[in-house]
Structure formats: C-alpha cells, structure tokens
Symmetry: C2
Subunit: 134 residues, 2 copies
Amino acid sequence: MSMKKAKMMLESKDIRPSFQRMKIYKLLMETKEHPSVETIYNELKEEIPSLSKMTIYNTLKLFVEKDLARLITIEENEARFDADTSVHGHFKCLKCGCVIDFPVEETKLPAPGNGFTVDNIDFFVRGTCPGCRN
Amino acid sequence: MSMKKAKMMLESKDIRPSFQRMKIYKLLMETKEHPSVETIYNELKEEIPSLSKMTIYNTLKLFVEKDLARLITIEENEARFDADTSVHGHFKCLKCGCVIDFPVEETKLPAPGNGFTVDNIDFFVRGTCPGCRN
DNA sequence: TACTTTTTTGGAATAGATACAATTTTTTTT
DNA sequence: AAAAAAAATTGTATCTATTCCAAAAAAGTA
C-alpha cells in the first residue's frame, strides 16, 4: 500500500495523517499476522529511530475508535490488531501458532436475542491447522 | 453447591480435592459473573486468610487444562473464568458492563473449513443490553 | 513414625499497558 | 513571516496482571 493511499484512508476517517500514523497504518494493512504493538515497534524502529511505543499505543487506540482497525485477542495479555474491520473469524493453530482468517456470514451467526444492540462481534476458534495434522 | 459435590466434580477429573481447590470451584459454580483471579481472591480471603493468589492462578490453570473451567477474555488484560465449559456465547454491554451468556448451537456456527480440527470456540458479542437501551 | 510427593505460600521478577509532563511538529492567527 | 496555539510524539516513571522460584506446609505412602 502506498503512503498516498494510507493518507487518504486516514483522512477519510478524520485522522490527521502524520508520518508515524501513515507508517503504522500501512504496516497494519500489509501484515496479515495481526501484529502486536511490540511487533509494529520492531518493524518500524529502523526506519523511524525516534519512534516511541506510546505513539503506537495512541495511534492504534485512535484507529480502533475511528473504526480503522480492530482489536483482537489472540493470546490473553497481548493486544493484537487487524486492519480488516469487517466481521470475520480467526482461527489459531495450537501447534504452530499460526493465525488464519476465515469468512463468516454475519447474518448466519447466532445473536444474543431481541432487545440487544450489537456493535462488535468476535468469533475465535482454536485447534489444529491442516498443515499440522500431517 | 455443596463441598461434597465440588469434591466429586474435582475427583471426576482426576484433580485432588484440596480445600482451596474445592472452594475455588464452588465459587466459580455459584458466580455467574465470570470472576477474575482478583475477584476470587477477594471473595475467599476472609474465609481462607492464608490464601495466596498463586494458588488461584495454579488452580484455574489446572481447571482449564482438565476441562473443568473455561478461560474467557472479556477485557483484554484480565483473565476471567467460567465454570460452564459447554459452547455458548458471551454478550457484554458496553454501557453497564454486564456480561450475559446466551445459547449457541455449535452445529450452526461457521467453521474455518475442511482440514481444521476445532478444539475450542469463543463467541463474543459487544453492544447494548435491553436494560440500557431504555 | 519417617519418608516422599504434592500443594500452598509469599516475595521478587517480568511484561504489556498507562499516566504524565516535556519536546517537537503542525496549524492558526496576527 | 513571526508569534501563538493546538496537536502529536517522545521518554520516563508507574501500574497491574501474571509468572518464577524456592521455602514451608500438608497430604499420601511405606
């Protein structure tokens, strides 16, 4: 993803496109592994030596508020982020640790019932991936 | 739940029924709010002044391994536990903070696909509960 | 009772996340 | 363009949930 595209995405959500924010968003779009703050920090600190983890925390919090990213919990104790904000499932292999997205039709999901307003859905499955079964 | 019943439940899963373990299991069964380690500690420390949080951590980890409890993530950064190990959904109201269980038919849930073995399903929904909509 | 294993306990250490104030950068005003 | 104001970034100190570890206590076995 180009920096120009990242800039447009941020602006479309009323987020000022600072260099750090654009870089973080770009990385989030290009990385399929739902990186953690630590991962993002390690990826970007070479290019932006002054980068502070606080900036990453602030930025990701802002992205989540503005619906530009989703917070997902793969392991307790570490927040992971996903630039795909649509409803979809996450599968984690307990053997190799890989995380795979899979499609989910929102209309086919069970709902808590009448009277509940749904803002956010997390569907998370753990098990063994095809590669590790062999 | 009686201590005798708690003891039987532990023994059925090959867990030695120490006093602390029985008390923790009993509390977990009687509490619908999916308590955290901190909550369990505060609830039990009066009756068991010597109780250590480490015991609670160890015990819950053992329960989860032996399929006597489930680890659920309601808020990132704090583990919560559920004595109901069957597949069911959790709804969290973003206004009042209440957590409500709701039934889910496992056969109707989307699956990651052929070739995947499923061990564990988490279905978590956030939004507004009927009480808070009024 | 003596010996072995298991469980519990508490204090120190770890790691992710937050609070906060000082800089730096950007935007607005003059 | 310079000054002032606002916003973003940074580093340090701190917090909190969790884990590590080794000693003490309890339970089980001979």
